[in-house]
Symmetry: C2
Subunit: 322 residues, 2 copies
């Protein structure tokens, strides 16, 4: 006999009343509640969440789909997890290691009601295929998705990039290199587009020979700068994929006794703690707010209340590297 049943027997009340006490229903006599509570204590009772989930049709779990736990995504994840927790949702992490089948597993878990919703941070399956899972429950993505597929809270990073570019041009700096991350991502396309259109508008040459790709971390940044200095002409500024890359470039530049920002201006991206501690000029990326928006989006489909997502934008944070 389950402890729940034992409580029913021992207290002499019905299952319904015991359940009411467990769920803090107000429609219970105080004495009754006290008696039942006491018995619960004695029996060291804890509700079985599987039974609750089965009965309620909800698990209060949200899945997070990601290829691999990596530094860059931690802030977003941590904020999302915290948001979920605030609403009494636990998060379950699906690291796929880039394996399509493993990734599908997460979506199957949505189908199987193991999770009430899904957050995609990075996915490797075709978004078209994944979007067919939308009928099993709410899905939101951080990774940018083409329209008509899975909803996303990502922002067009081209917008942020513009801020950095205009800032440099306003200072009279025109020889600008670009250091990118994943070559095929939508964000890189936007960034490149922003750079190229602004340069053209100003009648300046587009230096695609100064593009560097696959630059994610500090070491990548250092290497990227070395490769740029090997060019015939060396740029006076670098717009970076993120703050880590920027930090690497700053490191390498200092090592070669380059004056920053006089000889080399550097702009990071994201406004992480690292950029603050190094005094890097950067583009503030409202990651925390994106994470909360992502959760709200799911919550609006799962729960009954409805929370308005906030409108977000990038912002230039000027520090000592420009």
């Amino acid at each position: 006999m389950s402890k729940f049943e034992q409580i029913v027997k021992l207290s002499g009340y019905s299952r319904a009343t015991v359940s009411r006490v467990i769920n803090h229903s107000p429609h219970v006599n105080e004495e009754t509640r006290d008696k039942i509570m006491q018995i619960m204590q004695q029996l060291d009772y804890a509700p079985n969440r599987n039974a609750v989930a089965l009965s309620k049709g909800r698990t209060n779990q949200i899945g997070i789909v990601i290829t691999s736990l990596h530094e860059i995504v931690l802030p977003f994840m941590n904020h999302f997890i915290e948001a979920a927790l605030r609403y009494d949702f636990q998060t379950i992490i699906y690291t796929t290691q880039g394996d399509q089948a493993k990734e599908i597993q997460a979506f199957e878990d949505l189908r199987s009601k193991r999770v009430d919703g899904l957050l995609i941070i990075t996915c490797v399956n075709d978004p078209g295929k994944l979007s067919s899972y939308c009928r099993y429950g709410p899905i939101i993505s951080w990774q940018r998705m083409r329209a008509g597929q899975i909803p996303s809270v990502a922002m067009d990073q081209g917008e942020g990039y513009r801020l950095g570019l205009e800032h440099l041009l306003a200072k009279g700096i025109t020889k600008i290199a670009n250091v990118f991350g994943r070559p095929d991502s939508l964000n890189i396309q936007s960034r490149r587009l922003a750079y190229e259109s602004i340069m053209k508008r100003h009648g300046l040459p587009v230096r695609s020979d100064w593009y560097r790709y696959e630059v994610y971390g500090m070491l990548d940044g250092e290497q990227a700068w070395r490769s740029l200095t090997a060019m015939e002409e060396v740029p006076e500024a670098v717009l970076c994929s993120n703050d880590y890359a920027a930090a690497g470039i700053l490191n390498e530049a200092r090592r070669h006794h380059l004056a920053v920002p006089e000889q080399l201006a550097i702009i990071g991206f994201d406004d992480t703690e690292l950029s603050a501690s190094l005094g890097l000029t950067t583009i503030h990326n409202p990651i925390k707010e994106q994470a909360w928006n992502a959760f709200y989006d799911l919550w609006n489909s799962i729960g009954d209340e409805s929370v308005e997502a906030s409108q977000l934008s990038f912002r230039l944070v000027k520090r000592q590297t420009t």
Copy 2:
């Protein structure tokens, strides 16, 4: 009516038979299986995991308790997650942000059968208190625990430290600084003990004025080295808390044109990818194997099979910084 019931009705077979097909029981006529499978397809059936879990008394979920997702623990986590997945277990991450109440939540979830077992990576509650949860299910820890509390797969890092020390002494280097992480941790105590006992045995002075604490990342390492160079006498070698700290020290030393290893020898800890790419001498820490052992320990309590954990040890990896 649930899809399960629909299948029962449409196929004309009993619940039991349908269940057998779902679970790939061999005791089903092939034709029967085919018919039922076809209906399952048509209905787009997927089993409800909550119902399964309730019925089986097992969720195939394991909880991971950790204060905050951080670079340093990612390798261990990723390996553990992979091990779990191999045995069809999903992992659910409890980030506590150092909040005792949040942490307890994870243990309450063990009690409530939301998870079948728990892995502690870092905990903030008193281990004595937490160990009372052992009766609700298996718990294993990566963080070192004092005997008699919660079982742990952690290794005594003092052993690894010894290897580094002996290596330096064999080279005739005796002015050795120590750069530690969390001051109160058991591992730091072991490391300090290893250092002090070995120095004494060799009749060498114990330089506790060269101890530095709270050194975790690259930036911490850089700062630690600056603080050491400000001393009256400067050490000829540093034993580090981890490879990141070592990388920071290496960076800072190079910036000041110090010859490594001639003027300064550096030994990292863990043998991460970073140490390999930088050519850091380090202590190999079998993290992957620890992660698998951790899972096996849980699995031995949860499942019916039993897997033998492997015996592990540290190993010196000599590269270019000594």
